[in-house]
């Protein structure tokens, strides 16, 4: 299994600013993903974080709004740029190994005012 930590755990941000969320895994993993979850809702995939290359974004999510980095096999960041109240959500990092299992971090609860 993999243990995943995220920073910050929560934040309250002003409209128009940006926030970078960090995801650290305790072991080298093959796959890393970023999801968004509205309270009481299911998880929506934002993008696949590719090590050493540009992330692969899902429909409705763009790099200018959600730039992602993954410099190595254990670390990734997601930035939420030019935030609006609609970006208020829980952002979750997940990581997977070649054995198919995927594990989630505790999430970052973002409120935009």
């Amino acid at each position: 299994s993999a243990v995943i930590s995220q920073k910050p755990s929560r934040d309250i941000c002003q409209r128009g600013t940006s926030l970078t969320i960090q995801c650290q895994v305790d072991s080298q993993v093959t796959m890393m993903f970023w999801y968004r979850q509205q309270p009481g809702q299911s998880l929506t995939l934002i993008a696949t974080a590719n090590q050493g290359s540009e992330a692969t974004y899902e429909s409705g999510f763009v790099i200018d709004k959600f730039p992602i980095s993954r410099p190595n096999l254990t670390f990734s960041t997601l930035t939420v740029s030019n935030m609006s109240p609609e970006d208020s959500s829980i952002y979750l990092c997940s990581a997977g190994t070649s054995s198919y299992e995927q594990y989630f971090g505790p999430g970052t609860r973002l409120t935009v005012t």
Binding site: S1, I4, T30, M31, F33, Y35, Q41, S42, L43, L45, T48, S59, L92, S94, G96, S98, Y100, E101, Q102, Y103, F104, G105, P106, G107, R109
Partner: protein
């Protein structure tokens, strides 16, 4: 988008009873079907998972039943306890790709 349909949306079970949550998928390329348990304020935790070449998998009080021909799978929680009260998500994926999640089931186990 590839979908996984989950039901019921919410479920109330008495302590000691059996909780059953159902999911159905469309994409026959899916080859891994996990269930996640999520408590309020926490990230989803991998509970149990199954591959399509197996019809049933049991881990403690949790059992997955899988029907490949019907493209359906379900989670059974035996002897349900108040501590099982959480939101449960079924999911599916293929290869080294992200999970496709069901809509979630909020389970409440009454003492």
């Amino acid at each position: 988008q590839q979908q996984v349909k989950q039901s019921p949306q919410s479920l109330i079970v008495q302590k000691g009873g059996i909780s059953i949550i159902n999911c159905a998928y469309e994409n026959t390329a899916f080859d891994y079907f996990p269930w996640y348990q999520q408590f309020p304020g926490k990230g989803p935790a991998l509970l149990i998972a199954i591959r399509p070449d197996v019809s049933e998998k049991k881990e403690g009080r949790f059992t997955i039943s899988f029907n490949k021909s019907a493209k359906q799978f379900s989670l059974h929680i035996m002897d349900s306890q108040p501590g099982d009260s959480a939101t449960y998500f079924c999911a599916a994926h293929t290869g080294r790709r992200a999970l496709t999640f069901g809509s979630g089931t909020r389970l409440q186990v009454q003492p």
